[in-house]
Symmetry: C2
Subunit: 633 residues, 2 copies
């Protein structure tokens, strides 16, 4: 009998579209016979040790903690926050994930219905003070650094990414308003957003204006000190739901006298319910969710078509200056981009954990030097997949946390020069934290299915959901192609490669310690040095070639983003291995530290060589990419 | 207004799991406003010109057509068969694909219900004679070569892969029975399988025996000249359905005196309804579908748990010799592996067509040298994705068709030496045709979503289904990891590299014509030569190293498979480009032929460089892969 010790009962019948149930008289037979359904999905366990290691050693936590604004943040606090977040993620959120996937959301009457378990979890989330941990203390936030709160974001995403999107968007809205809103607006709205009592959204996209925001047509008519907003927005995440008492939409629209294109777009705050001067809720405002999308994943995150002003105009407030809405919105957007990256990390880690649990448990086949059947984790090809999953996940996590740490330093460094340096580096890293990690999450969650064999394709197993949920991340908040063009156009070309060069110099600094660390690190050292050379060569190639060929930058941008992300990941894992080597010598946790060294080597052997392929594609330029006429495809 | 000319009406409300509908009073508003739903999914158009080109120039059709068994098969017949198949795929099958995805299948009473449209389509499929086009004429088949019928298989998969699995499995069952069944058995069963009146299945997997068939426990007790089969089989594709009058299961089970392991497995034919001596249907046999899986994709293909012998034993017949069932089953399995590969090709091509149509139609942003907004097919990064889709799809198609052509020659060559050579080559190619192409299909269908942006993630668009449907292909009929181990263990190591070397020599023969074809082919020539060098070096590395390191072969197998597949794809596109160059000079279809040259160059620039990464991972060996203890993951 296969795996007789696992006794999970089959759950309630699933309502999976396009799949049947079983007839009642067959169900008993089924449940008595099908042993392979009795393997429970591994519970999510936050990888706290790996997270702390990443925060401390790969995201320069000591530098962040030394900043005046973060004097109270020390190692003990990091540990306490992560522990508590882990309890919430594991104990409350994780169990709602499959429910949300099966049950989804729907429009009922004037609003969107979500699973009752979500509303319950959201209440507990707010009670725990989680919405405001990184927000401005002036409005009730706890003002923790992003390098710490991002680890919490990872846990929310790993345990239930559809749920996590709601507070994530609120965070972005808070940040945009905090930076661009008037004092009066902040006083009226911010505290309740920070507490989670109200939630926030980002209303950019229109049917004809997806990646191309210059085509926006939503309008805003002045009316006293306010505006009447009208237009239709699509793809509005958590655009409506009953979990919060009010919803604060940040909406891009055009004033009557606005110039065309991106220079005529303003940002407006449009609440679901109007807010009286005393802060109490007034009448329903004129904005409604008219439908929700039927998506491949994140079923429990309502993706709304929002209609503003069907009954005469939705009352709103201007945020920031007229016609400068895009810049204000980008405060939120850049924040969200890092947030999307961490979604990829969370899903990748969750899929990895499920795959490891399955691979330890499932016995199939034999192995050299072993008697009898072995668990499949013994098979080299299964290990290859698990190690690739782990290596890519660790690299993704390190990239995202490090980006957060650069953001913290950019905002909170007293030294203007250092702040500017970290600001430029965070700008450089944001598209990579968004795009490279979400590309990695597709690969990782695909491996997660593959390790499970046929069971991975069956929805009850759970890993298919991670794969489906992950697929949106390369698309929203700017497609990964847009990220790549942003990286090459604004971050490489605009300053003539200065920011990239500075970063390369920092990464090269790991070479000497690797050389000193001995033969064990030779593979890591040579692979990283080679990849850095390729990065430098390709950067130069683009900087030089873009002047001659206007298509070059866009044609090679994606490969350049993948190249740069892959190198940074290798640098981070190499740094981790060096730290681990030092801690091993000092008598640290051997299994954990050894694994850091193995992961750096595996990454150097099996992931860094991809740089050569990216570099070759970059050197090839735009010729064959642009060769075909549109009708020859 | 966005794309006002497209006036597709929104279809019926979808029953998508975990997603809502809209309230009736909102629906009208929705449909009047949402213009982006009005872009119709491009109809499937079989790429007939590319198929004929591949059959004729990349799959050595002239050699196959010259074989005595295929004297009647000429270019006119190829054209006629493809045209007719294309009409069926486009006119009948394609429209059932989304219906099947939404509606799915379910167990009702003693059997499985499928969409009525499927039963209707299956009837037409049989009327058209499609089930038997490649089957033995002695039993009513048309005896066409596989190199031609595989193009039809591609069209079935592209238009509706869930449907296509049913006749595909019948084909495998026919082949196994034709080769291993007694004359009496063939007389009783084959003709109705060939006509499609009955369908076939392959019953291998049990809960405890997935990739590891040696663990099978199903039993067969002799009873007169027949056997009573009992046991439970899982993952039985099209295990029950009402489209055919009877279902013929080929079941692996153990005789009472069978030795343990793989040498004690026999193959049995077990019909759903017993068959009287006059060929009429008798009483219901003791085998039932007890449930169907809830899967991420191929919703309309019933994946059944089949229970044999709950009421005393399912009557069956021995196929082939006792205890040699695995070898007999592998006749079917190898056939199915190529069939899975072509599923990948079909889905990839369908996704490519949808992405091209979208990219031509959707306008977003501007481009250098163009006035006003442009269709996104103008953007280099969108082209990068479309070209990668096309390059990988063309390479996959060429690999599968060439494998089919080798199979034709292996079976039908009068010359024993030539037959043996093609048999060895088909053996070598089968795991690549299965695994490389299905890995490619994941990448291609993922790009297909990405090109659509947010709309790609919305189920109504249709490309998400291709991505979900494609994800099973790397798993079933032997996971891609199993294919890789098969490739390295049985196809590379077993003959000391002889088959690979012979193939490499053939591939190198393209170098001289490339050199003669001039500067335009220099990139293709050098990239291919370099990749072939890497292939040879890695083959040697494995042949040498496997003697010392028992884990090496399995640890590097997957990367070796990807390396070999990538090289073969590059060789095929290079051949195609040379042919195109010749036909251009002779005044052929310029747009089509130019595109062949561009695709070869794009592949050489952007796909072949991956070989370097695969080779590096192979050279790294098994060290870091095997380093971690199971509990250190």
């Amino acid at each position: 009998m296969f795996n007789p010790d696992c006794t999970r009962q089959p759950g309630p019948a699933l309502e999976v579209p396009g799949n049947g149930g079983e007839s009642p008289d067959r169900a008993e037979l089924l449940h008595s016979k099908i042993k392979y359904w009795s393997v429970p999905m591994a519970d999510y366990l936050a990888p706290l040790k790996q997270m702390r290691f990443t925060i401390e050693h790969l995201a320069d936590f000591a530098e962040v903690g030394a900043l005046p604004d973060f004097q109270s943040v020390d190692g003990d606090m990091v540990e306490a926050v992560l522990e508590e977040a882990s309890k919430f993620a594991t104990g409350v959120l994780a169990s709602t994930n499959a429910i949300g996937d099966r049950q989804g959301v729907k429009v009922v009457g004037d609003g969107v219905e979500v699973p009752a378990e979500f509303t319950d979890a959201y209440g507990k989330f707010c009670e725990g003070g989680w919405p405001g941990i990184a927000s401005n203390p002036d409005f009730g936030g706890q003002g923790l650094p992003k390098v710490l709160s991002i680890a919490c974001d990872e846990m929310w995403a790993a345990s239930n990414v559809a749920f996590a999107l709601c507070p994530e968007l609120s965070q972005g809205a808070i940040l945009a308003m905090d930076r661009h809103g008037t004092e009066e607006l902040k006083a009226r709205f911010l505290e309740k957003l920070v507490s989670g009592q109200w939630s926030g959204t980002m209303c950019l996209t229109e049917a004809q204006a997806g990646s191309d925001l210059s085509s926006l047509t939503s309008r805003a008519e002045p009316k006293g000190d306010r505006y009447l907003i009208s237009g239709q927005k699509i793809f509005i995440t958590w655009g409506d739901h009953p979990m919060a008492e009010n919803i604060v939409h940040l909406v891009l629209a055009r004033l009557p006298d606005a110039p065309p294109g991106t220079k005529g777009i303003s940002l407006f705050l449009v609440p679901k319910y109007k807010v009286n001067d005393d802060g109490s809720l007034g009448e329903r405002n004129d904005n409604y969710c008219v439908s929700v999308e039927h998506k491949m994943g994140i079923h429990a995150s309502p993706t709304c078509v929002m209609s503003f002003g069907d009954k005469g105009g939705a009352e709103g407030f201007l945020v920031g200056k007229p016609n400068e809405g895009l810049a204000a919105m980008f405060t939120m957007m850049n924040y969200m981009r890092l947030g999307v990256g961490i979604q990829g990390v969370g899903l990748a880690d969750r899929s990895y954990q499920a795959a490891v649990a399955w691979a330890r448990d499932r016995t199939q086949g034999r192995a050299p030097g072993e008697k009898g059947k072995v668990a499949i984790i013994r098979h080299p090809d299964v290990r290859r997949m698990l190690l690739a999953m782990r290596a890519l996940t660790q690299a993704s996590r390190a990239i995202c946390y490090y980006t957060a740490s650069c953001l913290d330093r950019a905002v909170h460094c007293a030294d203007a020069e250092a702040a500017a340096m970290y600001d430029a580096r965070a700008d450089l890293l944001t598209p990579i934290a968004k795009a490279w990690t979400t590309e990695a999450s597709l690969e990782v969650t695909s491996h997660g299915i593959q390790v499970h064999g046929g069971m991975g394709y069956v929805e009850e197993t759970g890993v298919a959901q991670f794969y489906r949920d992950a697929r949106i991340a390369p698309i929203y908040e700017g497609t990964n192609g847009i990220q790549a063009v942003d990286l090459v156009g604004r971050k490489l070309l605009r300053d003539g490669g200065a920011t990239v060069s500075a970063f390369v110099s920092d990464m090269r600094a790991v070479d000497a310690p690797l050389a000193n660390a001995g033969e064990q690190f030779a593979v890591v050292r040579s692979a990283l040095a080679r990849s850095l050379d390729e990065l430098v060569e390709c950067s130069t190639h683009i900087l030089t070639g873009a002047k001659r060929d206007p298509e070059l930058a866009s044609a090679v941008a994606f490969n350049y983003l993948m190249l740069l992300g892959t190198v940074i990941g290798g640098w981070q894992l190499a740094r981790g291995a060096l730290v681990a080597e030092g801690e091993l010598a000092a008598g640290g946790d051997k299994a954990f530290l050894d694994a850091q060294v193995v992961m750096a080597r595996f990454y150097a052997e099996q992931v860094l060589p991809r740089c050569t392929a990216y570099a070759a594609a970059i050197r090839a330029g735009s010729g064959s990419t642009m060769a075909l006429a549109a009708d020859a495809f």
